[in-house]
Symmetry: none
DNA sequence: GTGGTCTAGACCACC
DNA sequence: GTGGTCTAGACCACA
């Protein structure tokens, strides 16, 4: 269910959180769906249960999942909306990154080309 | 000369390194210009000399500055070229960020508009 | 595991880095193998943890090892390739040294003999 | 008379010492020839007199020059012999360097080729 | 437990 | 005066 790289600089709990949100956006995890239990996931990934716990706390505080004491964690019903709203705010990150690249001499064309690549489009001559 | 936020999760030495490179790209620090001495900057910023030292070592190993024992640290003569070369490689970061935004429903138009804003151009409705 | 000479003009952290790379080239440290923890090695060598830390940072930035916060440091999977690539560039050192020896009257024969000795071959006279 | 690079990692006093010995080996400085005075050389090179003094002390202790209090420094009469004798001992350095290169996968052929290049010879088919 | 950052204060070589 | 190394001891985030 998750692809964890233990040698990555990105903390494991962060990798879990990110991938969970990705699965939600892809529609593979739907509102109300249960997350694996802390213990079972820790076994499956070969990590410390504390790490899983931390990932779940993080997701809970972001409003992506909601943990029900004694029952488990579930995808919250407005998870997708929350994530999409957050994305708008992340346009600020994009702005900052582009600003820094611009300063270092990267042209607007190189950047917009990169954006187009993400959307699988060449130079616009469809 | 530098704006340090000791509460940031970005290490102080990294903040110094980043801002130094920014000043170089802005043309405010030119090749051959001396950096403040380790001790004087540590006093000015209210940090430990070791922290400044670490920042300077980092910049030295990146080829941005050139430290000369007994004399001081100086902007290396091809600093700007080095920085611009590194920026090209950072286009990968842009790609990754856009990919993640796309998944969260941000449109290509919103992204390219953001890029244009960075270059001081609106969306054409002026 | 390491032989440190605290009186050498070669910094301790550099000695550790060098010897680590030697062990890798000898095949005694393999990709994925864990390095001793910063604290344990500092005790073993009788040095300050910071010194070990510096050695590990150096190796990490060279791509020789890969440090994972909270887990430890591990030989990176392409460590050997990295080291062998660097060696090719070091042929320049050899050139410079030979140039200087030549100037001082050392003959080509004496130098090539020395090279052969390294490879376990005498000068042909059994 | 000397080419000093103040940005080099090699200490200035060391650069002066090295170049002096090179001039001797090239026959451009002969036994009995006077070295420039500390003050005049410090002015010419734009360095601190202490630095020149240190270079001369170094050369004196190596037996390359001999300083005569109140008169100046002069190339010692067996300077060339001393330098050539030292070179033989430096074959040990060559051995060590080659050993390390060998360990990193550099072949004997690559090394002997480098040696030949120093002597301006191709592949031996003269 | 791990690595990473920071402070405080010392010593060295070099200029 | 400069940068560079080292020790001592602290705190943090992560597993």
């Amino acid at each position: 269910m998750f692809q964890i790289d233990p040698l990555s600089r990105i903390p494991i709990y962060e990798q879990i959180a990110e991938q969970t949100e990705k699965l939600i956006l892809l529609g593979l995890l739907l509102p109300g769906d249960p997350m694996p239990s802390v213990r079972s996931l820790s076994v499956e990934l070969g990590t410390n249960p504390n790490t899983i716990q931390k990932a779940y706390s993080e997701l809970d505080s972001r409003g992506t999942i909601c943990s029900v004491p004694g029952k488990g964690c579930f995808i919250s019903k407005d998870a997708k909306a929350v994530l999409e709203k957050r994305a708008k705010q992340r346009l600020g990150q994009l702005y900052t990154l582009c600003e820094s690249l611009k300063l270092a001499g990267v042209t607007m064309e190189e950047m917009t080309d990169t954006v187009r690549q993400v959307f699988g489009k060449g130079d616009g001559n469809t």
